[in-house]
């Protein structure tokens, strides 16, 4: 599903690598936590998978396609198969919660009837049914984060990337969202979650990949957060 091979990433104007010599193979249907201190390169890894940025060296393959070879006009179709929860939310501030979530469906040409059926369901799942017609900037931090989760899962992507999906959520809601993500994983979606949520990592006992100093330092099946350090 995902094959990362000797991947290096250096942002322009930076003297250091944000990612150094990463090797990682992820199978279809896996659930992976990526953990590590702030600035370790977790978001960078997810950004590379979404083709938001290109690697400096090395190869990164997803769905059997090498992202470094991808043509510009193919990028949208890659992204439609990847649901992404962004660390900084990236909600469209010029339309309401419903339309933000619906947008993922509109771009793939889903009919309005279908949209009116599926979006409320997903909003219900993340606990935002009664905020559907609010503007994102009228929501609390945690609510915005949940809108972002809803948008990422509404079109049932084959890969779900989540960057800190519970950073602004209380432990109880966090656990709900994480359980929701696990449910999606059980139905077949490959899930990669970059997180600092020690409780969730410890609780779910999934594969844990640890980044430290921008390098991959550990990769354990059924890992826990503290083990990693």
């Amino acid at each position: 599903m995902i094959e990362i091979c000797h991947l290096y990433k250096q942002y322009v104007h930076n003297e250091f690598y944000a990612l150094k010599d990463i090797n990682l193979i992820i199978d279809r249907g896996e659930f992976i936590f990526i953990v590590g201190p702030s600035g370790a390169g977790k978001s960078t890894l997810l950004k590379l998978l979404l083709r938001e940025t290109l690697p400096t060296r090395g190869s990164i393959k997803i769905f059997g396609r090498d992202l470094t070879q991808l043509k510009n006009r193919e990028i949208p179709f890659l992204r439609r198969n990847i649901g992404m929860v962004f660390q900084d939310f990236r909600l469209l501030s010029d339309r309401n919660v419903f339309e933000n979530v619906a947008f993922s469906l509109r771009i793939i040409g889903t009919s309005s009837r279908e949209i009116r059926k599926r979006v409320p369901l997903v909003l219900e799942l993340v606990g935002l049914k009664d905020k559907a017609f609010k503007n994102p900037n009228e929501l609390s931090g945690g609510e915005q984060q949940r809108v972002c989760v809803a948008r990422a899962i509404v079109n049932r992507p084959s890969v779900l990337l989540a960057d800190e999906p519970t950073g602004n959520l209380d432990p109880a809601t966090s656990m709900e969202i994480m359980t929701l993500i696990q449910d999606i994983n059980i139905r077949g979606t490959t899930v990669i979650v970059a997180t600092h949520d020690k409780d969730a990592v410890d609780h779910f006992q999934k594969r844990v990949v640890v980044l430290e100093n921008n390098q991959l330092v550990s990769d354990q099946e059924r890992g826990v957060y503290f083990n990693a350090h």
């Binding site: 990028i75 179709f77 439609r80 010029d94 509109r106």
Partner: protein, 296 residues
């Protein structure tokens, strides 16, 4: 494009126009104002062109006959003039008519010529000749001066040339101004739409990040540009139409001697220039501006 997508894009465009409130109004305002300047100047310029044309057409050649030539030669001359391809009008003026005109010209000093009468008229028979293109006068005058039976030719040389140069200059200034204004309109409209798109650059990038194709993002902007451009072009056309009509009425009532192009005829020109300019600029402005932010 599916009819469903079309409706969605149109809806998005309209929603966006409403959502952007004052920015939409301001864009329409900029389009309207620049096209209004351009349009008003076109009206002015066309009328000035008509006026200078009018003046130029009053310039003519006076060809005095050689008194000594015989009837044969006179007829020959008349034939040659009639068949000259550059001439618009050839009018014979007998010396009696010429004397009559001169008296009129002297006004209340006409008594000075009272000494002359039908028998004793020192003036000459002549032809008044007008060319199709006024600018041809100097050349044609030289040409027909050599015709048989011609005494001499007078066309106000030394006055006519600068006059033509002047009217030519007026036309050039008009054209230069109009071209300048058109370029300005293009620049201003494109710039305004670019800024309004720039304000929404984050939204555009987010759309790309969640998998929208470039065209999916672009279409609403194109429709938006089209609508803004169209509204922005309609307004000056209406304003110009009514104010020009009022101006023509006022002028006809007060300064009767200035020729004016009728509102209907000039509006045709204005509409043909302004509406497409607004629409094309709106569409181009927005789609080109969006392009910058699609590269993520």
């Amino acid at each position: 494009m599916h009819i469903r997508s079309l409706l969605y894009f149109l809806g998005e465009a309209l929603k966006s126009i409403v959502r952007n409130g004052w920015m939409s109004i301001a864009s329409i305002g900029v389009v309207s104002i620049t096209l209004l300047i351009l349009g008003s100047f076109m009206v002015l310029s066309f009328n000035v062109a008509l006026f200078t044309q009018d003046i130029k057409e009053q310039v003519q050649i006076v060809l005095y006959l050689d008194e000594t030539s015989d009837q044969e030669t006179k007829l020959e001359l008349q034939r040659m003039l009639a068949s000259h391809f550059q001439l618009e009008e050839v009018r014979y003026v007998s010396k009696e008519e010429a004397m009559e005109r001169l008296k009129q010209q002297l006004g209340d000093r006409a008594y000075l010529l009272d000494g002359y009468n039908a028998e004793e008229n020192p003036l000459r028979d002549s032809y008044q000749v007008r060319t199709k293109i006024p600018e041809d006068i100097p050349i044609v005058a030289k040409e027909i001066a050599d015709y048989p039976g011609v005494g001499y030719v007078d066309y106000g040389s030394g006055v006519v040339e600068p006059l033509f140069q002047f009217t030519g200059l007026v036309r050039w200034i008009g054209l230069a101004f109009m071209a300048g204004l058109a370029v300005t309109a293009i620049f201003l409209i494109a710039h305004t739409i670019r800024l309004t798109v720039y304000v929404r650059r984050k939204e555009i990038m987010i759309m790309k990040y969640v998998g929208a194709t470039d065209w999916f993002i672009r279409w609403p902007f194109i429709f938006e540009g089209l609508i803004l451009g169209f509204i922005g072009a309609i307004i000056p056309v209406i304003v110009i139409y009514y104010s020009y009509q009022a101006a023509v009425l006022w002028m006809q009532a007060n300064i009767y001697f200035i020729p004016l192009i009728p509102p209907e005829r000039i509006m045709e020109e204005i509409v043909k220039a302004i509406i497409p300019l607004g629409v094309v600029l709106g569409v181009l402005g927005s789609s080109i501006s969006v392009r910058r932010f699609l590269k993520v």
